[in-house]
Amino acid sequence: MLKTDIEESGAQRILPVPHVVRGRLVHGLDRVHSSRDMGVDFATPALDPDALIWTRREPLPMLDTPIAEVMDFLVELGIRLDLDSNASLQQAFEGMNRVSALGPRVLENIYRDMRLMFDRRLMEAEITAAIGPLDRLDGWVEHRPAGFANRLRAFPPRLVHIMAGNVPSVAALTIVRAALTKGVHLLKLASNDLFTPSAIIATMAEIDPDHPVTRSFSVAYWRGGDASVERLIYQPQYFDKLVVWGGESAVRNALSYVGPGFELISFDPKVSISMIGAEALATPAAIAETARRAADDVASFDQDACSASRYQFVEGELEAVDNYCAALAAELGRDRHYGNGSIEPTPSAIREEVEVLRTLEPMYRVFGRPDGRGLVVRSDEPVDFHPDRKTVNVVQVPSLAQAVQHVTVATQTVGIYPPARKAALRDALAAAGAQRLVTLGRVLSADTFGGQPHDGIFPMHRMMKWIIDEGEDA
């Protein structure tokens, strides 16, 4: 069982962070690290680099396990990921409360919802969209795109996943996708989620410690960028691809290891926005509905997700826009399923810029206070600072078409309202660089997993090694 009870080691209180080696938990307090974010000291077992890799001479554990059996196991895993009865998950939840800024209520919602991804229908949809027929994962399937009789296999890969901790559900998403590839996977923990991946693998081990799926996962923490570790294991001899979720430094650092035979799949840092048409602000009731939907998109994971809206381009007269801003600021103060009505006060860098803009009214107008309940800055040009920690920049625009100029290759999700405006904007947004369009309020829709692209790619498709056997068969 995963254990995260605080250990008193001399005068220091140390949070234990276990590792997982091929499905088996490893406890130990050999290396002390500091999570500066929440000011917590934590300790991990010593790293044995040999235990983190799978040599190419040993058989991949899942290679001959039928995908149907993998999915049976994952479905069973989903059933066991029940916060009320799963002690490992409960321990992880306790630990997360010490290292994640999301707070117990949102964390509990995330932990209770994680199991929804372990749904056979979604898994099959994911494979069908990204891989094609399921049997491509199980063997060499006849493949004749131009009439020649070849045989194709979606061959299991060896992957290192550099995890992000801002959205703990990503742990479940990563593990489901990874298991479906039937490859081997090393998960590198982020200091703001040190427990969720290990708790899921620990639950696998509780079902069957020797199951091929269980044996295909290892989990470890080292400080991101620690060359003494990364230089040893980020090698094409051991791994095929590096899957990076994360900010600039994580991606840049990963890039330095990329070369022939060692490839990067990058879920880069992204910015998301909203586009709101004048008709969505036509009446007080419309303003209230628009503000509610917009706040859903802003406040997801306390705006610490790449899909969370930061800039909103809004059509309309100044008075209507200001009324909308006021309604949005009020909405942001409410608790949401995946967001807190009140978080820590706005960081000083944002607060100080906003403080000055506040004195420039009517050019700028500020709604709400920098108290962590939600801050809205209205302007006629996007602000220069990065709106974060429940801060939104509402930019008044003459038309949504003109707002497209603010979309770049770093734009991930665009929430649009009313939905009738989407059709006219879709191509221009995609051409400018946007990767996902949603109806406003649907940023956290449940259909994110199960056959959808992410950041412009089908992740599972990119993860596989696509191997062809050409010419006559025996």
Partner: protein, 452 residues
């Protein structure tokens, strides 16, 4: 005499540290109160902050902490004002942070940022700018009083540390300024004033005569944003890179001439003024010519500041410079300061420690929040984020949180003010390991251009 007058009077003391009052902190707090009362009436952002936090009276250092501005405050202008050359809007923004009324500024014919800076100078406002290495410059107001005191403060800090400059006859040095001869920001103006105060006639040498235009820096920052937005064409990027290359080449030729002149004056007292990173470049260039050491005349004076400041200088850069140029304790002064501070903290001779002048109220904060780690009565060493209230500055509010991590000794033996024992920039320290997929456009776009 008011508390404020008492402290400001020390600007002209030979040794302001020794002349600090016994009850320094109490005098400083009273002076902060005087400054707050005065500036609230002038600076809208300060008044709003004091109102928001409910601070009317300064009864403790904690009260002062809530009134600190930061770099972000001074770069809070929307960049679109500069892109669209809306100098009226930029002036309106600048007014919210300046003590003096800017109503009289004449913006007719103002086209570039350099023009705007000159227009402000004509009404007695000098703009102090941090070098905008991140793309966006901060703008801080200085008025005539700030400019008048700048030279005495530089002279005072140099004399505090270096016996050579104390004992030198007036105007006796050949001065080598590790910077360009012209730039529109007030930093270069101050360097020129200091050089003129030390130099023999005709003996001021600048590293380059290629001007440093504020607008050029701006154009580069703007291009970087255009690259991010995908609106810059490859040919535009190429043109700017080509221009930067030509400029670098001209600077490089000037640099060689500068080095020739310095080598020609090694047997007479010289004064070196400027940034350590530039002096390091001088050393590397001299080494490339096969010169193994370049000891200066023993009566020389070297005021070398800036630390490593985000450059790739090696850990022992200062020792290397001292060895190479023969910078003895008598010669060498490395004051610790920043554009946001009046004057600087003078170095204790031969030590990597800096005495904090009595008109600077030092505060040590938690790295990431406003917790004060150095309340009244603190003794010994405290490490954290450096903040201060500059009681001297007239053109703006003097309270500031910096980007530096310092260790301050609040009870240094034999001195009457606190002493800074170590300085690092938070940017240069290892970052935390919190991974998140939410990022900025700057972080995302590769291939941004570096300032030339």
């Amino acid at each position: 005499m008011s508390a404020l007058q008492q402290l400001l009077g020390l600007v002209h003391a030979d040794d302001p540290i020794a002349a600090a009052p016994d009850n320094l902190l109490a005098v400083q707090l009273a002076a902060v109160q005087q400054r707050l009362d005065q500036r609230r009436r002038q600076i809208r952002v300060l008044d709003q902050r004091a109102t928001d936090r409910g601070i009317d009276t300064i009864s403790s250092l904690e009260d002062a902490v809530s009134l600190l501005f930061s770099d972000a405050t001074y770069k809070s202008y929307p960049e679109s004002f500069l892109d669209q050359r809306r100098w009226d809007r930029l002036t309106a923004w600048f007014q919210t942070l300046a003590s003096d009324r800017l109503d009289g500024v004449d913006l007719k014919g103002v086209d570039t940022l350099d023009d705007w800076l000159l227009a402000l100078q004509r009404i007695g406002i000098w703009v102090n700018s941090s070098s905008g290495t991140s793309g966006k410059s901060s703008f801080l107001a200085m008025n005539r009083a700030d400019l008048d005191v700048a030279l005495p403060l530089m002279v005072q800090a140099g004399r505090y540390t270096s016996a050579a400059v104390r004992e030198a006859p007036p105007h006796s040095f050949a001065v080598f300024v590790l910077g360009p001869s012209s730039a529109s920001y007030s930093g270069s103006l101050r360097a020129r004033m200091y050089a003129e105060a030390l130099a023999r006639p005709g003996e001021i040498h600048y590293i380059s005569d290629v001007g440093q235009s504020a607008q050029e820096g701006l154009d580069l920052a703007r291009l970087n944003r255009a690259i991010a937005a995908g609106t810059a064409k490859p040919s535009e990027i190429q043109m700017v890179q080509e221009r930067a290359r030509e400029r670098a080449e001209r600077i490089s030729q000037d640099f060689d001439r500068f080095l020739d002149r310095l080598i020609a004056r090694l047997d007479e007292p010289v004064a070196l003024l400027g940034l350590s990173s530039m002096l390091f470049q001088v050393m590397e260039r001299a080494k490339a010519r096969g010169i193994t050491r370049m000891p200066l005349h023993p009566d020389s004076f070297a005021s070398i500041s800036g630390g490593r400041k985000g450059t790739k200088l090696p850990d022992d850069y200062m020792q290397q410079l001292r060895d190479y140029f023969g910078l003895t304790d008598r010669v060498h002064a490395s004051p610790y300061g920043m554009t946001e501070m009046s004057g600087a903290c003078p170095m204790l001779p031969g030590q990597q420690s800096w005495a904090i002048p009595p008109w600077i109220v030092p505060l040590v904060l938690e790295a990431t929040d406003e917790t004060l780690l150095s309340p009244a009565g603190t003794t010994g060493r405290v490490t954290g984020r450096f903040a201060f209230i500059d009681l001297l500055v007239e053109g703006r509010w003097g309270g500031l949180v910096t980007g530096d991590q310092v260790t301050i000794d609040f009870s240094p033996p034999g001195l009457r003010t606190p002493v800074i024992r170590a300085v690092d920039r938070y940017k240069d320290l290892p970052g935390d390991d919190k991974a998140t997929c939410a990022g900025t456009i700057d972080a995302y776009v590769r291939g941004a251009l570096e300032p030339a």
